[in-house]
Symmetry: C2
Subunit: 318 residues, 2 copies
């Protein structure tokens, strides 16, 4: 028997640094990015997912911004080159020391370490701003609610959680409008998925009807096969349509209806959840949650994103 | 004459991203890193030089460290992987968003953008800690004062600028001793230059005699030709010796004597400054400065480092 100590030690093949699946959720202020993200992060759990917000890359704090001729929506108001650098590092599996903007106080505070989990979700105003930033993502989403709905959401949030008056929020929206049009909204055309929560215009549903969702799927990436979830009996809650994007390009649109009875939506959710191969048949409670309320179209949009992440196959348990 | 508008526009050759000259100044707490660095930064000016301190990579603030079983000198107490990443970025000419540790309050605060100037000086406890970090530098220096002198310096600084009592500083030195020996001092063996400010042991100079300097130059990099500065008439202020490092390896040592009359030191300084090709014959005032006092051996050590940076030739005006 050969002496083990005499054997030449050979290094095994190097284990490649694991690259995470990167998901971008872009959109204007109060477009629903954090709400969409929160459900995904909870459903995946901290072992499988980490999220970060690109608002943290603000170059100036709130007091400094008051003296400036532009708003937080201006690229100059953000360290976008550093954001790009950090996205590249995360996409290649490296940790970053991320700046932190405290929305409660408007101050830039102590940075924090972010180590890439199998899934990294990046939400914010600018994740799709540049080609180098976009190249870091496997799936990109733009949230595109009608402006009047986003305005309501922004007023509700900023007067509630951030201590502003309604007048101040409206003035800020007005001040930001030009920069939103110039720098934030153009990202819509770079997203693989454009998600819009809105009432259905052709219907006259009562005011408390949940918003419907339209998930526009561009042929820029492969989309999951929804055959199971679209079988007869479930199509009232959700159906696919070939459409033309307002920008003229052909897209496939998934329409998720807010007005159908809840049990029909739940059946669709269960169908998608099961096809995700999750051992537990119950769709997690965290999906569709908006504060204390629930939105089945939101839950379905989140399930579709989970489906996408699963299909990308790296690191997300099947 | 051809229509200029019809000519095909050709992109010129891409301008390569300019890599800065990177200088590391490592050493234990109060070894004189900041004093040495300050003179270099001022002499080069903000257009040509930026400096940063790796203490900013502390993982915990002062209050948190009190609860920990190790001190700031433990690698676990610092984001050394992030420090490495940032050194690599700077060395390749990229900007970083550097964390900031406020020594006055002991808090970790808002990070700041650092864009590489032609010369980047990195001082701190750990710049030579790992091979990847060391590889980022063109010249590496370790400051190695005798322990009893460093102790005096630390008491003077920490009771003065940082508001500690002498007892607290002595207790902290005691608490740090093991980790200093384990993690900080081993960097000495990786430095191209080891600089030691100390009285000359064989002499019995009066207590107010300026400290002499020994600059140990390892054959790990090319060192400047000091023929001019070492010509007859100047050798009392400074001379070269072939020696054996306490670790056994052969080195060349430059001895700069604190006891010689000031005009002899100034003649050496002028000689080096002139050979640096600076248009103005006057050696800048910022060299040799220690608070309100002046040290000619410090000025000479700083001039030698400027000589090194000049010899590296990239970005530093000749």
């Amino acid at each position: 028997m050969p002496d083990k100590n005499l054997r030449i030690r050979r290094a095994g093949p190097a284990e490649p640094r694991r690259r995470p699946v990167m998901l971008a959720i872009a959109g204007d202020s109060a477009a629903g990015k954090t709400t969409l993200t929160r459900g995904l992060v909870e459903a995946l759990g901290p072992e499988r997912c980490v999220s970060l917000c690109t608002d943290d890359y603000h170059r100036y704090d709130r007091a400094e911004r008051k003296e400036l001729p532009f708003t937080a929506l201006h690229p100059e108001c953000n360290y976008l080159e550093i954001m790009e650098q950090h996205l590249q590092l995360l996409a290649t599996g490296a940790p970053i020391l991320k700046p932190v903007y405290d929305h409660a106080t408007g101050e830039l505070v102590r940075p924090e370490l972010v180590e890439p989990a199998p899934v990294v979700i990046v939400e914010g105003l600018f994740p799709l701003h540049s080609k180098l930033a976009r190249a870091c993502f496997d799936v990109t989403v733009y949230l595109d609610p009608p402006e009047e709905i986003r305005r309501e959401w922004k007023i509700a949030r900023d007067t509630g959680k951030r201590g502003y008056s309604t007048e101040a929020v409206l003035a800020e929206l007005e001040r930001r409008e030009e920069e939103s049009a110039l720098y934030v909204r153009p990202q819509r055309s770079h997203a693989d998925l454009v998600v819009r929560f809105a009432p259905i215009e052709s219907r006259d549903d009562p005011a408390d009807t949940p918003l419907s969702a339209t998930v526009m799927m561009r042929p820029t990436i492969d989309h999951p096969d929804l055959t199971g979830a679209l079988r007869p009996g479930l199509t009232r809650a959700m159906h696919l349509k070939l459409e033309r994007d307002p920008d003229g390009r052909p897209v496939e649109s998934l329409h998720v209806h807010g007005y159908v009875p809840r049990e029909e939506s739940l059946a669709v959710e269960k169908e998608i959840w099961t096809s995700l191969g999750e051992p537990d048949g119950e769709t997690p409670d965290c999906l569709g949650r908006i504060g204390e309320a629930r939105s089945e179209p939101l839950a379905i949009a989140q399930l579709l994103l989970l489906y996408h992440l699963r299909d990308l196959g790296r690191g997300v348990a099947a």
